[in-house]
Structure formats: C-alpha cells, structure tokens
Amino acid sequence: MFHKLRNRFTLIFVGLAVIPLMIVVTVLAVDTFNDLVADTYDDLRELTKRFQGAVEQTIAGSLDDLILLDNAYGFDELSLEQQENLITAIIANKGSFERVSVLESDGTLRFEVSRYGSDFASERGQGSERNAVAQTVIDSKQLSSSGIRFDAQSGEPVLTIGIPFFDLRDGAISSLLLVDFRFRVVWNLVTELEAEAARSENFSLFLTDDLGTVVAYSDTSVVLRGTSFALPEQDGQVPNLRGENSFTVTRRFAVGSTGFVIVVQEHVANALKDINEAILTTAIVTLITLIAAGGLVALTVRQVVRPIEKLSSAASAIQQGNLSTRVDIESKDELGQLSGAFNHMTSELARLIENLEQRVKERTRDLSVAAEVSTQVTRLLDINELLPHLSNLTRSQFGLSHVSVFLYDPTDKALKLAAASGEVGLAMLQGSKKFGLEDKGLVPRAARLSKPVVINNVNDSPEYFPNPLLPHTQSEAALPMRIGERLLGVLDLQSDEQGYFTNDYVNILLTLSEQIAIAVQNAQLFEDLEVARDEAERANKVKSAFLASMSHELRTPLNAIINFSKFLRKGIPGPINEEQTKLLTGIAESGQHLLNLINDVLDMSKIESGSLKLYVEDNIDLRDIIHSAVQYTEPLLTDKPVEMILNLPDALPLLSGDRKRLLQIFLNIFSNAGKFTSEGHIRVQARTENQHIRIEVEDTGLGIAPEDYDKVFIAFLQTESGLRQSGEGTGLGMPITKRLVEAHKGRIWFESQLNRGTTFYVELPMQPDLVAERSSQSA
C-alpha cells in the first residue's frame, strides 16, 4: 500500500498536520482539565477557610459575652441573684445557648439557667458529659469543651463549653460556667454560607465532629438523624451526603478542645460540567479542524499526485504499445511542462516507429524479391539460359524499365553485353553492344570504380548518355558484379521513375548483384567443367583406342613368334637338334615374356583407369584353379631342386569370382615363388576361416628385406634381390595381383625372412559382393 504516492503523501500530510494538532489539543485539554480541577479544589478550600472563620467567630462571638462576665463584672462578687439575672439576660439576648450552668470551683452546681427559664433546671443538667467537661476545666484551669451531643430534651445538637472564672487575687478558679452552646447557630451559618457559595444544587457545605458525625448541615434532618460522614484522609473525590461523587475538601479545626471538620463538596459532574463543555467544544473544534485538514490534505495530495499518476499510467499504456496515449495535464507548473514534454516525446516515438516499420516493410519486400531472384538464378547452370532469365526476372520483380548484364572480358578489357531484358534487349544484343573499360558512361565507370554508380535524375546529370532505344529512362544504376577482387561484369538497371535508386535500394540491389556474380561464376565454372570433362573423356577414349590398337598390333606378331617357335620345337616340320631346341625355346620364352609384359601393362592400365572388369562366375572351386596354376608353374621348376607341395583339403567351399583372374593371381604368386626359390619347396595350403578361404604359399627362397616390404606391391619396383637374378619379372605382377585380390574383396599380404623364405597369404571371402558383370554362361 505504501508504494503508491497518493497514500504515502496522504500519510505524511496526515502525520504532519493532524498528529501534532491532536497532541496539542490533547495536552491542552488535559491541562485545562487539571487546572479546572485544581481551581475547584482551591475554591473549596477557600470556602472551608471562610467557614472555619465564620464558625469560630460565631462560637467565639457567642462566648465572648459570657467570658466578659468574668472580666467586666467580677462575677463571683455578685450575688446569686445578680448572677442569675446576668446569665438569663445573656441567654435571652443571644439565643445561642441552651442553658448555662454555673458551678462552684469544686464542680457543684450553683445554679442553672436554660432557655426555657431559670426554673427549668433539670436533673438532666448534670449529664456525664457536662461533668466531664467541668472536671476537665477544674483540672486544666482552661476552657474546655465537649463533643457535640444531642440534647435529650430538644434533640438539638449542643456543644458544652466549660469556662473557668478565676479569682483575680490568687488565680484559682472561682466559678465555672458550663455553657450548652446551641449548635443551631452554626446550622444557620452553614445554611447561609452554603447559600452564598452555592453554584448549584450539587454543592454541599457541612460540619462534622472529629469522628465524622454531621453536626451542621443545611438539611437538618441529616443532622438530627445523626448521619455519619466518612471523612476522607485527603482532599479528593468521595461521595457526598447524597451519594454523588464529589470533589471534597475538609478542614479540621477545634474550638477549645472540641474538634470540628468542615467539609465542602462539589458534585464532580457539576464541577466538570464546565470542563466537559470546554472539552466538547474543543473536541468539536478539533474534529472540524481535522476534517478541514483532511480535506485540504486530500486536495493537496490530489493536486500533486494526480498528475503524476496520470503520467505514470500513460507511460504504462505506452509501454504496452498504445502509442496514441497522451496526457492531459493543464497546469502551468513543472508537472504541466513534464506532461507536455511527455506527449511530445510520445508523438515523436510513434512517428519514428511508424517510419521504421514502413521502411522495414519495404526493405523486407525488396530483400525477399532479391532472394527470390537469387534462388531462381542460381539454379541455372547454363550461362546462356541464366543471363536472359536473370535480366527479365530482375526487371519484372523490381519494377524496372530495363536490365542489362555486361560481362567483363579481361583479354580486351571490354564490358560486353551478354543479356538484356525485353525486345529492346534483343535489339541491343544484335548490335553487340559493348563498353571499353575506359569509356564514358555509368557502366564502365562502375566497372572501374568497382562501386555502384547511380543517377537518380538523368536530366540533371551530365554523365548520362541517353540510349536511343531507351528514351524513357529517368534513373539508372550500374552495379558491379564482383567476386572478391575479380570483376565479372556490370549489372545495368534503368527505371522510368526519378529518384528510384535510393541508398537503401541500391544496397539491396548490390546484394543481388553479388548473388548474380556468383551465379554467373558458377555457370562459367560449370561450363569449364564440362569442357574439361569432355576433354578428359576424349583423352580417355584416345588412350583406350591407343591401348586397344597397340595391344592388337603387338599381340598379332607374337602369335607367330611364340607359336612358330613352339611348333618348330615340337619337331613337326622336321627334327631339330639340341641347339636348335635351345634357341627356339629362347625365342618362345622371349615372346612369352613380351606378351606377359603387354598383358600386364594393359591390365595395369585398366586397373588404373578403373575399368578392370571381372567376369564373375559362381561356384568356382579354388582347388581347380590352384591345380591349374601349379601345372603352369611346375615346368619352371624342372631344373631346380624345388618341390611343389600341395596341402589342400578334400573340399573347399565354392566361391564366386573371375576364373581367369583368380588363375592369374595364383599363377603370379607361384611363379614369383618359383623365380626366387632356388632350392627347397613351395608349399601351398588352403583352409577355411570364418567366411573366408585362406591360401598360404610358403617358399624357401631368398626372402624380402624389411626395407623392401613397401616396394613389393608397388608397380615397376623390384627388390634388389629380385629382378637382377631372374630378369623375367615385369615389375607389375604383384601390384596387379594385389588389385585383383582386392577386386575380389579379398586381402593379400606376406611374411618374409631374408634368405629363409617368404609366405604369401591370400584371403578370399566366400560370398563376396562383387560388383561386376556376371557372365550369363558358366564354364
């Protein structure tokens, strides 16, 4: 709740304005109250003082006359009758005495006079209390008094006072007066005083004795009843005689030895009436003030906070995207200014965004058009198709009036028109339009600068050379097509509208021209590729034809050389001697060697050019092949102490392969073994392992030196120990064998020890997946 300005401010204001006010008011009220109360007590105390004074005076006043008797008259000197007359006179005069008894110094009664006459001496005159007083006076030689008692006869309260008369000569008591002071006098006094002082009904003034028995009160029935009042120890609030809570002040005093207590009470409610009124007034005033203050606060806060709230909610609205929000703060102060600035800012923002959105829309559209042109164009690889399509597409998609594509020919530094849109384009192409690199005009300039050259109003520009075929052009842009540093050409774009080629637009078009450059390059490369490929194919064909004719030409004479010499050796035309046999053998062998060489070269060429073809048959029994190869090899070993040993299982799984080539493999290996073994054996073993047939050919020949291991399968390399000795190898045998094994998806490797022998291993899969032509005929 406290994060709202309004609430905070309100709270602050309330705190600042109201709370001090409340505090002050409260303090004032309390003070006033206390003052009023104190005042009340003071008033009451005053009254008690006055009352005391009055009572004392009344009583004393009454007694004076009697006391004066002693001093004035020398009372005891008088006769009894005189004494009586005096006393009677005084009683009759004052009316404040009930009776007066004159006693001897020992306390015996001399005479007694009552209000009702002197004859009315009663036995009751010698009450115990009176006696006590008399005795006290005799003992103390001082005035003494009794407590207030109610006279049996009249029922009235009386106070017995004993007054001693002294003998002037010796200071002894000569006589003693016992005066029954009628307390009614005091009653009257009380009533008078009360009437005087009373502010309302709820004011009481009375007198009690020491013990609290009420002895004088305006309501005499209270007195006659002998009501007792609970004397408080201190001034304070106690119930009055009617039971109402009252401010009570008491004052003790004594007349003689008679103690009295003056009680003055004011009913609290009465006393407080004023106070309450005052408080009420104050409270009302305070409340009104509070309300007023509250109202002011609210108003002020509102004044201040509301505009801020308005601004805040406007800002929120804008944050959520409602840019049409405005703040209507009319005041001329800072808040008003702020709102003005705010509104202005918002308008600007809205405008900018709209602007931006518009531009983005436009650019997006342009880019997508460019992208589309690029896509279409890069798909074409035929440059003759590409460029015309490109020109027309660019023209239509970008709403241009004309598009030309010039390709740069570095050999003569010219920009030659390669494609142009529309009918006009055709005409231009026929005219073989071209620009030299140094010529005037946008196109050559763009090429030279390698930067776009734009004229947005051709009428203004001195650089522009109108093309008679394109009279409506108002703006033109020439964009270089570059790949990296290399210039491929220039894209020339023309429009009927002025100012068509804005900076943003040109940038997009430049992107497009880069794409076009790539497309052109691709097309060119593709063309080159085609040419190269054609040439390669041609070269290949030439090579093949060459090889074919070479093989044909070379082999044909060998037919004669080899076979004639063989024939002669057979002796069919006639017997031949040893020497002739030897020579003829030499011829045959040489011829064979040459044939082998030719075959190997052809094989190698086929393998290298990847045109080795296997004529695959199924169900080939390797044992047959091995036997055949052994047959061919054995003649080579006739003049050497080398034994061919065959360790073949009774049956080998049949496999698929090229029979001729498989024979070739083993012929090669065996003849190699035969070539390099001068004594010992060549052992051929075969067994099945997993899904393979493994053939091992072990010889006890020269072996292969470790440094020659790599050379074994490389064409035309023969090991040192090899060719020197036999002179029969072509250097191609092993490489060809390896390729042939691999063509059958097999493996070939060897282990060798110099001067001990070599073992060749051939592993052929039983179910090779041979990609080759399968002969439909089986042998």
Partner: protein, 131 residues
Amino acid sequence: MLKVLYVEDDAQSREVILMIERMNPGFMQTTMFSDSSHFEQRLLELTPPPDVILLDIHVKPLTGFQMLDIVRAHPQFSATPVVALTASVMNEEIDLLRVAGFHGGLGKPLNIDAFSTLLQRIVRGEIIWHV
C-alpha cells in the same frame, strides 16, 4: 574331322592354324579366307558347310561383327558356332563380342596346345571366352 572356316588377313596367324592342324592330325580341316570380301557369297559356296567359323575381328571390308550377322541370317548356320579370334583384350571390345552373340572368343596369341581341346568344347556347345 572338323570343318573349320577361318577368316584372317594376317598370314602368320593363318600359318598358326595350319600348325595346329599338323599338330592334331585328322582333327580339323580349315578353309581360309584372307579377307572378308564377298563373304556371304563365299560362305554359301562352301561345301561341305563349316562346322565352326573362326573370325578375326579386324578384317576388311566386313568386320567380324558384320560377318557374324551374315552367318546369323542364314538358318542353315543357326547351329554353327562362330568364334571370334582377336588380339585385342580391351574390355569394351570383349563386351561387344559377347553381346554380339559370338559363341566364344579366343585371344591371340593362340595357345596352340590347348586350341584343339577348346575348339572341341566349343563345337560341343560350350561357350568359351579365352581372351
């Protein structure tokens, strides 16, 4: 005795066939054409007609293929094996020969020792490509 027709323009190669004849007396008797001119006519004139025809591919004016076609055209030779003799071992040519419908092929230089056996097998109906 096998009646053999051999069309071959190379004298030495023809000589080799003769050698084979002498090596295998009574095995075969060969009629030689030294070129393929008037092939069809000469073929039809042969009596008795050949049991097997050996054609060198690279003869003129008609090539081995053309001669094969001519042989095919005559029903009396429908069972006669026609074998190509060629010194060329190029895959493409071999393929063409196979596809063309020769009953076999023997590569030059000929293996004179194996020749008779191979020819017998071919005559017996086997297709042999020994190129």
